[in-house]
Assembly symmetry: C3
Amino acid sequence: MTDKTYSRIHISRAGSVTRVTIDNPPVNLLDVALMVEIRHYLLSVRDDPTIRVIVFQSADPEFFIAHVDMTLIDEPQAFDEVARDAPEGLNPFQAFGELLREQPQVTIIKLAGFARGGGAEFVAAADMAFAAEGRAGLAQCEALMGITPGGGATQYLSSRMTRGRALEVILGADLVDAATAERYGWINRALPAAELDDFVDRLANNIAALPEGVIAAAKKALPAEDLQEGFRREHDAWAGLFERPAAASLIRGGLKIGAQTKDGERKLEDLLRGLEI
Amino acid sequence: MTDKTYSRIHISRAGSVTRVTIDNPPVNLLDVALMVEIRHYLLSVRDDPTIRVIVFQSADPEFFIAHVDMTLIDEPQAFDEVARDAPEGLNPFQAFGELLREQPQVTIIKLAGFARGGGAEFVAAADMAFAAEGRAGLAQCEALMGITPGGGATQYLSSRMTRGRALEVILGADLVDAATAERYGWINRALPAAELDDFVDRLANNIAALPEGVIAAAKKALPAEDLQEGFRREHDAWAGLFERPAAASLIRGGLKIGAQTKDGERKLEDLLRGLEI
Amino acid sequence: MTDKTYSRIHISRAGSVTRVTIDNPPVNLLDVALMVEIRHYLLSVRDDPTIRVIVFQSADPEFFIAHVDMTLIDEPQAFDEVARDAPEGLNPFQAFGELLREQPQVTIIKLAGFARGGGAEFVAAADMAFAAEGRAGLAQCEALMGITPGGGATQYLSSRMTRGRALEVILGADLVDAATAERYGWINRALPAAELDDFVDRLANNIAALPEGVIAAAKKALPAEDLQEGFRREHDAWAGLFERPAAASLIRGGLKIGAQTKDGERKLEDLLRGLEI
């Protein structure tokens, strides 16, 4: 496997740590191609015991993963390739998060910029996440598109924070800064932006240096929670809204006025709130 | 329904947001009349899709809801009207909280002053709560009256914070300030007092402006936890103590030295701790 | 029972509060003798209704409980006495924590110094813990010895913090300061070091002064979570690693270069990370 396998992510390896740098301009949209590449990479190293830690970071200091490609609304068949491999009982977006959540390696998110929607779900599906104060932002902004999160967020948030905070995140639909995300338990820690790289590097290297078997034993003692029943509820809630005209209208409307461009994504919530339903 | 239906609460509506202002001088005691009015209001709007968000606030800047009327100790029959409608397996106070917790609208507490006992349970039963730094206070002070919380607090706290913190709140029985309540997960956030109104207004309006169906879908994906078994344990623990002479003696003693007056309620914990058992 | 019953702990009693001062120089190692004495004390007061609160503190301002005696690796039979009384389904270290967790009195940790490994598990098994900012430290550093925690930490941490934070604590294996431990929910609160004694004294006295039956009722309403299944997973994960040569090599190596001495314990993580596997 060489870097040439991938065009939207770059893989660099040092010892037992690999870094996956997401580089899908202009805003690191979670489009089909990016999902396919990340999925391929995770599967390709799944049984490789020489890789112990996977750090996800972004080539773009402003955007980690913007969110799922909103043009999906007009090209649902584009996700067929992703959907084909989803396990029974999971929709393709839930399956994508679960693939990450079940990765045997330790997965760490280095969050220097924004992650919304499916991007925030990717952050929450990883084992750990560290975010830059004053720069990072997390949002489940689906409500502004007339839907609820459908790729795991309702359950990932529920296992991390009180129901009241999860409802605030999902229905308030604001961009949450790193300090608040830490207080809510959404991420492990908020760190001064200048310290983020060193902190994550040191942690990743320390974990990678542990004796053989320790990572697997820790994950055995602390298994990922079984969220199947919640995923079904989440999917039903999401699908019921996604079929309504409001969702299509808001998503197409958002695209027309700047969503998925760098400028539009800097103030995506304001932009979407300005649309007429 | 006009304001004249109610004498202890005022209802004001703007768009799909209603504000319920509790106004039951001198300290917003949760007496039978206030419970009946709040219950009546919640039931009356339960099936009204034009109301999406209900904000609870207080006419008294110092007291949100003081606590359940302590004179109950000598007039248990006064609560018969409330008790009559309690679902099987819930005592009247638990049933009151559960009515709020199951409200289809989004319920938000704006906490500028103190809420103790049943008042704190009301706060915890709502979907979200925001509190003023330096002014708001929450307490489960029942232990100082010789009892444990009997209206849901033991279970609401358990689902929000670690057992150690819930035990500290219940057995330490101190007034907890907004910042600590936020750190413990008891409320969503502590905010500078001057920002509380604007923050809650904006959040309420933003949620009310979401497309139809989004609130219901979010509540479907994040259902209120089933706490029946815990409520039974809570009621048994509470009832066993309530029948003891110490409870009656402390509650009557507290009333004699200033509980349920503005002055007494400002330092209720000190006042109750001064009583001989 | 007099102080002479014990040589590694000192018992002092004032009213219904007892203070257990751990004094096992040089670093308050959790050796067989200390485990036996603490166990004996807990059992001896278990049915004593005149004792309501037990505060654990250390005679050494730097170390609360260093960790389990690492020489166990070469004297496993030393723990036979402790193991003999462990309930079915629990290893001796889990049984020790569970004994504390099931104590009918309210148990409070006053943490002025470091507690690692089995010492940190002891802290987490108590009902409440308060720690001195700038001085206290908690660590599950077992990973640096080639093992995962085997005395309850994986489950105690899981019930207190998000899985991501528990994995960070266990695999990152760093000393966690009081402020971070509070944010993660590991302890109740971090307090200024100068206020720790007064805070804990006041809380212990207030709880001890509650009317009869209130403590028992609170513990009935908030029972300790059943962690049996998790303990089995934890033990299996731990035991699988403990049998490997890396664990023995790291533990013996650590002992050779200063573990279990005051100097070595001040920087135990650095010391262990310097060992070749």
